[in-house]
Symmetry: C2
Subunit: 167 residues, 2 copies
């Protein structure tokens, strides 16, 4: 599937578009491993224990989508291999992973509690995902509305975004 | 799959656990529609145009996972139908959807721009997803670390969370 056809498959909604790429099984876990510093096929493979063909496919899709870059490296006496690194677009996925982690911490942890905490590097204070306004102040879910943007479509069933949170 | 076996399949990582439920095709779009105020099977079906069997499956899984509640309603002269509403756990998924929307806006929008914007209800100021500390101050990606929590596992390949962002 080309990038364009992937976008069209998502309709005029950025959530659907993101899920067309990121909702595929394993894809966000590959991105998680990239955030953890893995760069080589063998490292992703050892960490995720996923089928090699699937890993090849997901790395290729993430490169095509501009989330990872693929560069060649060669160690003396070895054949050339590929290294995968997050682009700025890839690093921009951090809030997606952090939001999934936060929700899992709160709603899918067993009695033993969350497997990990996000903390500030200096001081070790708790870090969480929040919705903030243009001055960085936190905004409550009840105070958010969704308005059509320039790329809105009138096609039925493809309305934009997450909408107005309903009680 | 029972809730417990789903949790185990995710290993000791809240991201993997969340994806085991939410990463399945259509599931987060069903949640998106619930945020848009849809409550009835026919409403979800008309909005998403997904196969009925799949919709039945996803609604059932979301109820089992405590994201939606299912209650019966009956209109005069009609048979009893089910209504699906977000629980508090379901409403806590808003940052996940908003983060996916934000990333899609920035990285998968066509030249026409984002399909929708999130705004404050009063004043219409831009709303975005951010990482904040315990005092609500925004934290940069470079200032975040991941530390093991009480539910951390020593099993290889199941390390917790998104880790330390690597450059």
């Amino acid at each position: 599937m080309t990038r364009t056809s992937r976008l069209e498959a998502g309709g005029a909604c950025s959530i659907a578009r993101s899920l067309t790429l990121l909702g595929e099984r394993w894809t966000l876990l590959v991105v998680r491993e990239a955030f953890r510093g893995r760069t080589r096929f063998a490292e992703f493979s050892a960490a995720l224990r996923m089928p090699s063909e699937t890993l090849t496919d997901r790395l290729g899709k993430l490169v095509d989508a501009g989330v990872l870059t693929r560069t060649a490296y060669q160690e003396p006496g070895s054949r050339e291999r590929a290294e995968y690194r997050l682009t700025e677009s890839g690093r921009a996925l951090y809030p997606v992973l952090a939001a999934l982690q936060q929700w899992g911490d709160g709603h899918l942890s067993g009695p033993e509690g969350p497997p990990a905490y996000l903390r500030t590097r200096d001081g070790g204070r708790p870090v969480r995902v929040a919705l903030v306004d243009d001055e960085g102040r936190e905004v409550s879910l009840d105070d958010i509305v969704s308005v059509p943007g320039p790329g809105a479509s009138a096609a039925p069933g493809t309305g934009p975004g997450v909408g107005v949170p309903a009680r």
